[in-house]
Symmetry: C2
Subunit: 221 residues, 2 copies
DNA sequence: CGCGTCATTGATGTGCATCAAGTGGTGTGG
DNA sequence: CCACACCACTTGATGCACATCAATGACGCG
């Protein structure tokens, strides 16, 4: 993950990511309440994380794909605070956290990398708070699609075609809206020729139009 | 901050927190876009952090009080991504981040402490996402009050009386509602004798009732 | 004292939730 | 291989929680 390491350092980091674990679609990588021991780096597959309340509500807090790290929430109390569920067959690297701390004392680049990963997650969540706190349904869904396709693109996938790995309900939970509203908003975007929707296959026809929805152009006052 | 350190370790950590900086009410500790160099530990006073969009919307992402750390969002891109504004005259310790990384390589307790602080922030934000994504106005405000009074209590303040340092609008921004709705909801709680409101002075008369609003009792099915 | 800021309260509007019915794709067992 | 059941999804009709608009009131400060 970090770059510009010496051979020696690379060896230390390599041993960290040695152990892998497959996770079947629908299975949990971990559950809220379980003891925290490791972070997980996604090698393949797609996950969601979600928190639950006693009274049965739950909230999807994120969708994670290859290259991303899951489990950071567990550090503070040595206990996971959310569920991580595979949305398709997946494989992760197990990164024992005490080993991470040990090695980052010696490999500065790893230390800084870990800090950046946690900081990035904090910044991402700020963005979600902005979305949940001040955007309307169309803006939320447009922002969601653009974010998803952008992340897929950096992984070498198409910047226009994507396959949703999650249900409308899961999207709705993440975006703070009901599945019917998600569906209607997809239909509206399709009507306006910004996207094509066929089941979970989405084709983005006019990314700029979506961007204009998220960031409506300034009107001069 | 961490505990159980040797004399030697304590000295290292002490030098970290040597420099202080006063911040006047209404002034910014930092702005989004500024270069990130340090974290800040609040010694006294009260802050808000907020992110802004190009189109002028903004979202309060948190309220911080004595003992809490601000600036974690800046690590990932060496640049702050939100504003930190003092809501009353305040004083912070400046914690140069490169020194933090340096010392945490030698003082394991500090290293782990830093990780916990970042993880705690991630978990806190999960809670806010749950609040914004799935709660109604009354639930949000009740949760907010309970959280605030709980944090004040651990700092030795009353568990029933508190003074809000922020405006209704700032509360609303944090909770994803308009200031009028915040005001109305306060009035409603007061009418139902759960709290007393007089300007920014709040007295909690029935904490259990507030808790029942946040976590409505299960109905057997 | 007068002005600006913040807060309260009422009247009205609307975006999204809720409730409900129906469609299509997928997997399973006879 | 087809019939059936199930699930995710779509779409329409209705309702409600909260936003919006507007007027007034309460502090605090120069």
């Amino acid at each position: 993950m970090p770059i510009g390491l010496s051979v020696e350092e690379l060896k230390r980091v390599d041993e960290l990511v040695a152990v892998r674990r497959p996770v079947k679609r629908g299975a949990a990588l971990f559950h809220a309440g379980e003891k925290f021991t490791s972070l997980y780096a996604i090698r393949t597959g797609f996950f969601k994380t979600c928190v639950n309340t006693e009274d049965g509500r739950d909230q999807v807090t994120g969708f994670q794909m290859a290259g991303e790290i899951i489990g950071l929430d567990g550090i503070v109390n040595d206990q996971h605070t959310c569920d991580a569920i595979a949305l398709e067959d997946a494989e992760v690297c197990i990164l024992p956290f005490d080993r991470i701390e040990e090695i980052s004392r010696e490999v500065n680049a790893l230390q800084h990398h870990v800090h950046k990963i946690m900081s990035r997650e904090i910044v991402r969540e700020h963005g979600v708070m902005l979305l949940l706190g001040s955007m309307r349904a169309e803006e939320r869904l447009a922002a969601f699609l653009l974010n998803l396709v952008q992340r897929l693109q950096t992984r070498g996938f198409s910047k226009s075609d994507l396959v949703l790995r999650m249900t409308r309900e899961e999207i709705g939970s993440y975006l703070g809206m009901k599945l019917e509203t998600v569906s209607r908003t997809f239909s509206k975007f399709a009507e306006e020729c910004m996207i094509e929707v066929s089941q979970r296959n989405i084709r983005i026809l006019d990314a700029d139009a979506l961007k204009r929805i998220v960031n409506p152009p300034q009107h001069c006052h």
